[in-house]
C-alpha cells in the first residue's frame, strides 16, 4: 500500500520537473517568434527592391539568360528541403518532409531524377536513417538563419544548375519550406526556384509602369549580377519564414505538452490521494478488527 503512494509521488515529481522544461521552452519560443517575424518583415524591402529590378531588366530587354529560360527537357531536378535542427516542435519537420516526399514522388513519376539538398538536422537524420543519399546539408541555425547561409545555399544550387546534365547538373530547382501564415497556421509549401518565374506580386501597389532604365554596365551583366542575388533573397526569405514557422510550431507543441503534464499531475494527485485514503481506511479497519478480536476473547 505504502509502495503505491510512493510510486505516485515519484510520478508527480518527475512530471512537475518536465513541465518546467516545457514551460521554459514555450516561453523561449514565444519570445523568439516576435524577433523571427520582425526579421521576415525586415528582409522585405530588399526582396521587393530586387524583384522590381529583376522584373524591370527582364521585361525590357529581350535577353536569353540561362537562369530565366526553360530547358526543353527536364531530366533531373534538385529539391531543397528546409526542416529544423531540433525536435520538440510537433509535426513541423515531419510535415515538411512529407511535403518533400510528395514532391519527390511527382518528380519521379515525370521521369526526373531527384537530387536532394537539405537544411536542418532533422532532414539529415531522416535521409541517413533511410540510407538515402543527399548532395549537401546545412545545419546549425535553422531557428535564426543568417544571410551567409542563404548565400552558400544559393551558390551551391546555382553552380549545380549551371552544370550540364552529363556532369551531374540539374534543370530545375524546387524549394520545400513551411510558410508562416499566422501564429496558428503554418503550411508546408513548394516553390520553384529555377528556372525563374519572375513574380512581381509584391510590387503591384505601384501602378506606374517600370521606367526605361539605362544600364551600367550592359544589361546582360546587370542581370548576371542581379539574378544570383534574387535567388539568394528568395532562399533567405524561405529560411526566415521556415524559422518563424518552426518557432510557432515549437511554441504550440510545448504548450500542449505543458497542458498534458498539468493534466497528468492532476490525475496522479487524485490517485495518490485515493491510495492514501485507502491506506488510512485499511489501517483503521485493522485496528478496529484487532480491538474487536481482543474484546471477544
Amino acid at each position: 500500500m505504502g509502495a503505491q503512494i510512493r510510486v505516485y509521488r515519484q510520478k508527480i515529481a518527475s512530471t512537475t520537473s518536465t513541465r518546467k522544461i516545457f514551460k521554459a521552452m514555450e516561453l523561449i519560443a514565444t519570445s523568439r517568434i516576435g524577433k523571427a517575424r520582425t526579421r521576415v518583415a525586415a528582409a522585405l524591402p530588399y526582396a521587393n527592391a530586387i524583384t522590381r529590378a529583376v522584373s524591370a531588366v527582364s521585361s525590357q530587354s529581350e535577353i536569353d539568360h540561362p537562369l530565366t529560360t526553360e530547358r526543353g527537357e527536364v531530366r533531373r531536378a534538385a529539391v531543397l528541403v528546409l526542416t529544423s535542427d531540433r525536435g520538440l516542435a510537433g509535426s513541423y519537420s515531419a510535415s515538411a518532409l512529407k511535403q518533400a516526399e510528395g514532391l519527390f514522388e511527382t518528380l519521379r513519376s515525370e521521369g526526373k531524377d531527384v537530387k536532394a539538398y537539405l537544411i536542418g538536422r532533422k532532414a539529415q537524420s531522416y535521409f541517413d536513417f533511410r540510407g538515402r543519399g543527399y548532395e549537401q546539408v546545412w545545419t546549425g541555425n535553422t531557428d535564426a538563419p543568417e544571410f551567409e547561409t542563404a548565400r552558400e545555399v544559393g551558390a551551391a544550387l546555382l553552380s549545380c544548375f549551371l552544370e550540364d546534365y552529363e556532369d551531374g547538373g540539374v534543370e530545375e530547382i524546387h524549394v520545400v519550406y513551411t510558410k508562416f501564415r499566422s501564429m496558428v497556421v503554418q503550411e508546408p509549401s513548394v516553390m520553384r526556384l529555377l528556372p525563374l518565374e519572375v513574380v512581381d506580386e509584391q510590387v503591384t501597389h505601384e501602378g506606374d509602369l517600370l521606367p526605361l532604365y539605362e544600364y551600367e554596365p550592359e544589361p546582360e551583366q546587370v542581370l548576371d549580377a542581379l539574378l544570383p542575388r534574387y535567388i539568394e533573397s528568395r532562399i533567405f526569405a524561405a529560411m526566415l519564414q521556415a524559422a518563424a514557422s518552426e518557432l510557432a510550431a515549437r511554441q504550440r507543441a510545448m504548450k500542449s505538452a505543458g497542458d498534458n503534464a498539468t493534466e497528468l499531475i492532476k490525475k496522479y494527485t487524485r490517485l495518490r490521494n485515493t491510495a492514501r485514503q485507502a491506506e488510512i481506511t485499511q489501517e483503521l479497519s485493522e485496528i478496529v478488527a484487532g480491538a474487536d478480536a481482543l474484546n471477544a476473547s
Binding site: A42, V57, F147, E214, E216, F236
Partner: protein, 97 residues
Amino acid sequence: MATHGELEVEIVAADHFVWSGAARTVNARTANGQIGILPGHAPILAILEAGELSVEPVNGERLVVGVDGGFFSVDSNRVVIVADNARVGGSVTPESA
C-alpha cells in the same frame, strides 16, 4: 516625401533596412567608376562595387555607407540602394557585417 529637387533615398541591406530620407546628392562606385547622382538623373540601374558610397542628406551630416556589392536604381528622383551588407559610417568587412 521628397519635394522637387531632392532625391528620395532608400538604402536596404539583405536582412535589414539601413537608411532612408531626402538627399541632395548620392555618390557611388559602380563597375565603370564613380557616379554622382543629382536630382533629375535619368533612370539607371547599375551594379555597385564594394566600397563606400556617400549620401548628402538635405538635413544633417554627410552619410558614408560601406557596402560590399549590390546594385542601385534611380528613377524619378527615387534612389534605391540595395547592398548585400551595408554599414553606416565605414567599410564592411566580413567580420563586422
